[in-house]
């Protein structure tokens, strides 16, 4: 069971128990690609749970399974103790309300032909207080009230991400998954969206699952982190422990490779990257060799 970290035992959640649990999850795609190879983890209720990994680590596959947008090849996913991995879409209504996702590319996930107010209220169905709710949500994400009448193309990347967040919050979910939600944004805008997410998670007592390739962002946002590599969770624990005293070689390599401003300023100019590459540029080349 090398693939299952010890910390993924059922008692991992502090307080009131996990809201989402994953056990021995495997997902094999046609052609024999093992996107997930036995992942187990618990997302504690009210926690801010980070999933970090490079491309091909399986984090996007995991997100799809957490949200029951795909079915595992083996293993289980439970939401508050109820299996969600083997249900038909018609039996997933509760999950669609209670778990929402914000994706990386707001333009790809916002229908360009819909006005912002219709995009935001779409998850609500028919309700009488629709307009009020839209106004409330626009306000919550820091958009002007007249934004509702506009179409998405009128907005900047950061504003579009605010629209996605407003839509995700509309059905009053318990769990918000942010899948590379700030990865396409400029540094200054990124900070605004991260601050917004932090505030909303507190205000609405959300459980946050924050998925990113960016270690710095995960450290800033999360209290617990799972490090993924090639379909496995290689390390999992409180953010400070994992970042300050990584136990797995890959985590160490990842942390050494990710430049931080403070780390780089401490090192002499031009040498900071050598520290990173000392963690093994040739030995652990994650890139595939060219074919042929």
């Amino acid at each position: 069971m090398t693939s299952t970290p010890d910390s993924a035992a059922p008692d991992a959640a502090p307080g009131s128990g996990p809201i989402v649990s994953v056990r021995d999850l495997e997902r094999t795609y046609r052609g024999g690609v093992h996107a997930l190879r036995g992942v187990s983890l618990d997302v504690p209720r009210g926690g801010r749970f980070g999933i970090v990994g490079e491309s091909g680590s399986g984090k996007s596959t995991l997100v799809r399974l957490l949200a029951a947008l795909d079915r595992p090849t083996a293993g289980t996913v439970t939401f508050e103790g109820q299996r969600i991995d083997d249900r038909r879409e018609s039996d997933l209504g509760f999950l669609r309300r209670r778990l929402q996702i914000v994706f990386q590319d707001p333009m790809g996930s916002l229908d360009p032909r819909m006005r912002v107010r219709d995009i935001i209220s779409e998850p609500l169905g028919r309700t009488r207080d629709r307009d009020e709710r839209v106004a409330e949500l626009l306000d919550a994400v820091g958009l002007p009230s007249d934004a509702g009448a506009q179409y998405p193309h009128r907005f900047s990347g950061g504003q579009r991400q605010r629209i996605s967040i407003a839509r995700a919050l509309a059905p009053r979910p318990d769990v918000l998954i942010a899948d590379e939600a700030v990865s396409a944004l400029d540094v200054l805008v990124r900070k605004q969206i991260l601050d917004l997410l932090t505030r909303l998670v507190d205000e609405y007592a959300l459980t946050l699952v924050f998925v990113s390739h960016d270690l710095g962002v995960v450290r800033k946002m999360c209290d617990e982190v799972a490090v993924m590599r090639r379909g496995e969770v290689v390390e999992h624990g409180p953010v400070d422990e994992v970042y300050d005293a990584p136990r797995h070689d890959y985590t160490r390599e990842l942390i050494a490779a990710a430049p931080t401003l403070h780390g780089a300023l401490r090192a002499p100019a031009g040498s900071a990257t050598s520290e990173a590459s000392a963690a093994g540029p040739e030995s652990s080349e994650p890139e595939p060799p060219p074919e042929g």
Binding site: E54, S55, D186, V187, L188, V189, R190, K191, H213, D214, L215, G216, V217, R219, K220, E253, L254, A256, A257, A258, P259, T260, L261, G263, A264, L265, A267, A269, G270, S271, A272, T273, S274, A276, S277, A279, P281, E282, S284, E285, P286, E287, P288, P289, P290, E291, G292
Partner: protein
């Protein structure tokens, strides 16, 4: 001396301003010399020989709108300079203007000189002699910069033959250069789509450095890469310019990357340079409010 063999017409005499001592003499010599390079030229007709690149009052306009305005900075031979700013700040346009690669509809005014030679308003013929030779460039998206239908080895070799290396020699040299950036031997026979993003970026870097440019411009070269791959590519950039004594203009929004690669930094906002200085000073004690916000937003 081999540099005497260099075909006339490259850059005339203006490219001779680099003092001999400005470049560590090691690498190029060991690997067989590079007669095409202009770096080894005999004593310069003296100009501002402290500056390799001098940008003065650069203004880039689209119709009546100035996208870059009154940008001035200098880069000394071998110096590593970072250009930071949020998207839309004009940093990439500045790089494009230096390369003479502004998109249609945009025009540049002011002055950009490379070893005293004016690039603004220079003919495409002149610029194409400089590009890939005295000026190397690496972009964010290597797939668009590489020819998808040509084997990688040939593309590297072409960078050399275009500037005068004989083909047989260029082919051998391409293999050496690919090996230097840690790409396996078979890479030369691969097509770009067969490579990973990091490998493609190594190929692009190989092409950019093939003629030992006096200045390497990198525009967000690692933004699309995984962190471990980014670290490797950054190392290769740092090593590549160090070995050749090339100067570096590195453009990114990532302050941590700038701090790990560059000595000096220029902060660009709304088409203007708002602050500049040594990396340590500017990024640990920023004076301009905009720089402060960038530093606060960094992780």
């Amino acid at each position: 001396m081999t540099e005497r063999d260099r075909p006339q017409g490259h850059l005339g005499g203006v490219d001779r301003a680099l003092p001999r001592g400005a470049r560590p003499s090691g690498w190029r010599r060991e690997t067989g010399g590079s007669p095409e390079s202009s770096l080894d030229q005999a004593p310069p007709p003296d100009r501002d020989h402290d500056d390799l690149l001098a940008v003065d009052g650069l203004r880039i306009t689209h119709g009546d709108v100035a996208l870059v305005d009154d940008v001035s900075f200098r880069i000394a031979p071998g110096e590593r300079v970072g250009l930071i700013g949020a998207s839309g700040s004009g940093k990439s346009l500045t790089a494009s203007a230096i390369m003479g690669l502004l998109p249609d509809g945009l025009s540049a005014a002011g002055s950009v000189t490379l070893r005293g030679r004016e690039l603004v308003g220079a003919s495409e013929r002149e610029l194409s002699r400089l590009r890939g030779k005295d000026l190397g460039m690496v972009f964010q998206e290597p797939m668009t910069a590489l020819n998808p239908a040509m084997r990688v080895g040939r593309q590297v070799a072409e960078a050399l033959t275009v500037h005068g290396t004989a083909r047989r020699r260029a082919t051998a040299r391409a293999r050496e250069l690919l090996d230097r950036v840690g790409l396996p031997e078979r890479t030369a026979r691969a097509y770009p789509h067969e490579l990973s993003g990091g490998q493609r970026q190594r190929v692009l870097l190989t092409i950019a450095l093939a003629n030992d440019p006096a200045l390497l411009i990198c525009d967000e070269p690692t933004t699309a890469l995984d962190v471990t791959v980014q670290a490797q590519v950054l190392d290769l950039v740092a090593e590549g310019v160090r070995d050749r004594g090339s100067a570096l203009l590195f453009i990114t929004h990532d302050l941590a990357v700038i701090a790990s690669v560059c000595e000096r930094v220029l902060v660009c906002r709304d088409g203007r340079i708002v602050e500049e200085g040594p990396v340590e000073t500017v990024l640990s004690a920023p004076e301009h409010d905009y720089t402060r916000r960038l530093v606060e937003a960094a992780l």
